[in-house]
């Protein structure tokens, strides 16, 4: 049943400080809306619990990409189109650029924001495994000030996060130290555009003299939140990629994921695909050592 717009309030504060004051006056009362690609879908379905919305779409403070010597700071209000058009992201963070290109279609990329993807906290979100692989930090902001949290700890359970009721995500920080890594990402779903993934992987790896020196494997749609496969990463580090290692990686990965049966897929299929994606990534990583 569609919502009746007459029952909803929507305000558009003209600056970040004004938006934060409004949140602080009545914490939890306002639902922030940026590009609306998630919120308006709930609104259309009559499933939006909030009745008071606050537009943050026009806040220029959230729309900047700052390139600092040690990290890049992506404003939470940057759209996927903004991410795809940024040269530093294209060069140093290809997993983000690639994930941005899979979100919805062009129209949704023009409106959907990285901060929105994070706060909406879907375990199937396209861009979140890439943020885990790059060890992102989030800058959260409120009238109380800013705080910085590791993105890895941000999601606490299905659709639950560390964001306080008076806070907004201000920026996403990515350390600039992954330039020499092999980056591999793949979304398995009905189609790339406009379809939610059955399984999504984003991974980074670096070999040193043929041995895995560092590896990060993140996945979406295989647990209540996007996850890093910490145990799999541990057993891979210091090893050469061979068939025995692939087998061990598949076994370990299967113990770390907790996929479910739902409208898009089954737990069994997801487990098989997740294992295949880990193996596929390792195959690429192993092969990267044989080329100059």
């Amino acid at each position: 049943m569609r919502s009746d717009p007459a029952e909803f309030e929507l305000v558009a504060p003209e600056s970040l400080p004004k938006a934060l004051s409004l949140l602080a006056e009545n914490p939890g009362a306002w639902l922030p809306i940026a590009g609306g690609t998630d919120v308006m879908v709930q609104f259309a379905a009559g499933k939006l619990p909030a009745r008071k919305l606050m537009s943050i779409w026009n806040l220029g403070e959230l729309r900047r990409i700052e390139v600092l010597p040690s990290e890049i700071r992506i404003g939470a209000g940057c759209t996927y189109t903004d991410l795809r058009g940024d040269k530093t992201i294209a060069k140093e963070f290809p997993l983000i650029a690639r994930a941005a290109s899979w979100v919805g279609g062009i129209a949704n990329q023009n409106r959907g924001t990285l901060g929105g993807n994070i706060v909406n906290a879907s375990p199937a979100a396209d861009s979140l495994p890439a943020l885990l692989a790059y060890e992102a930090d989030l800058i959260l902001v409120s009238v109380r000030g800013e705080r910085r949290v590791a993105y890895r700890n941000f999601h606490t359970d299905y659709k639950k996060t560390q964001l306080a009721a008076d806070e907004l995500v201000r920026a996403i920080c990515l350390p600039r130290r992954f330039l020499g890594y092999l980056a591999y990402t793949r979304k398995v779903g009905t189609r790339n555009a406009q379809a939610i993934s059955k399984v999504c992987l984003a991974a980074l790896g670096r070999l040193d003299a043929g041995v895995i020196a560092d590896v990060r494997i993140a996945m979406g749609s295989v647990a209540p939140i996007p996850i890093r496969l910490a145990e799999t990463e541990k057993i891979l580090t210091g090893r050469r990629v061979d068939s025995a290692l692939l087998l061990l990686a598949r076994k370990t990965a299967a113990t770390e994921i907790r996929p479910i049966d739902d409208i898009r897929s089954t737990a069994r299929y997801r487990t098989e695909v997740a294992n295949n994606l880990v193996a596929e990534f390792l195959g690429r990583l192993g092969a990267s050592g044989t080329r100059p």
Partner: protein
């Protein structure tokens, strides 16, 4: 601060013309275009950003008008399919859609043309992959897409010649 309990006044530019409307701020841009302004070329398909039938250009960017609360369109410049009537690129697209069988039932066509115009504005010589990606957010249940892709490719070639 824009107060917004009850209706609010929204000024926006639609197809070059300044329009003022009294609306609830969460009313969808799609409904305002169709019901207040009579611009029924913009279609509603899914109403949840999946199908692209309601595509319009907002400040030059392709968007789904079903996902835009009208308050967020305040001060924006909107172009709908009607606004492309005199546009030479849209005319070439229209001709090529007809010639290649790119329009059958027609519900997706305005959105397809808007998405194609948005693509060609950024990339006047798209290859087939560019076209597939540019139109991936627009669903068609009749053509199987191939005729549409061919129409866009041909329109790009024609626009390059003229």
């Amino acid at each position: 601060m824009i107060a917004a309990s009850g209706k609010c006044e929204v000024t926006l530019r639609v197809n070059g013309e300044i329009k003022i409307v009294q609306a609830f701020p969460m009313e969808r841009l799609l409904d305002i275009l169709r019901q207040e302004f009579g611009l029924t070329g913009t279609k509603e398909g899914c109403g949840e950003g999946e199908c692209g039938a309601c595509s319009v250009l907002m400040d030059g960017a392709l968007v789904n008008s079903c996902l835009i609360p009208v308050l967020q369109a305040k001060g924006a410049s909107i172009v709908t399919i009607e606004g492309l009537a005199g546009d030479s690129r849209a005319r070439a697209l229209q001709d090529c859609f007809l010639e290649h069988g790119g329009a059958q039932c027609g519900i997706c066509t305005p959105g397809m043309i808007l998405a194609a115009v948005s693509l060609l504005n950024k990339n006047s010589e798209p290859n087939i992959e560019d076209i597939r990606e540019g139109l991936a957010g627009n669903l068609c249940r009749c053509t199987g897409y191939i005729q549409i892709f061919e129409a866009v490719a041909e329109a790009a070639r024609r626009s390059a010649v003229t």
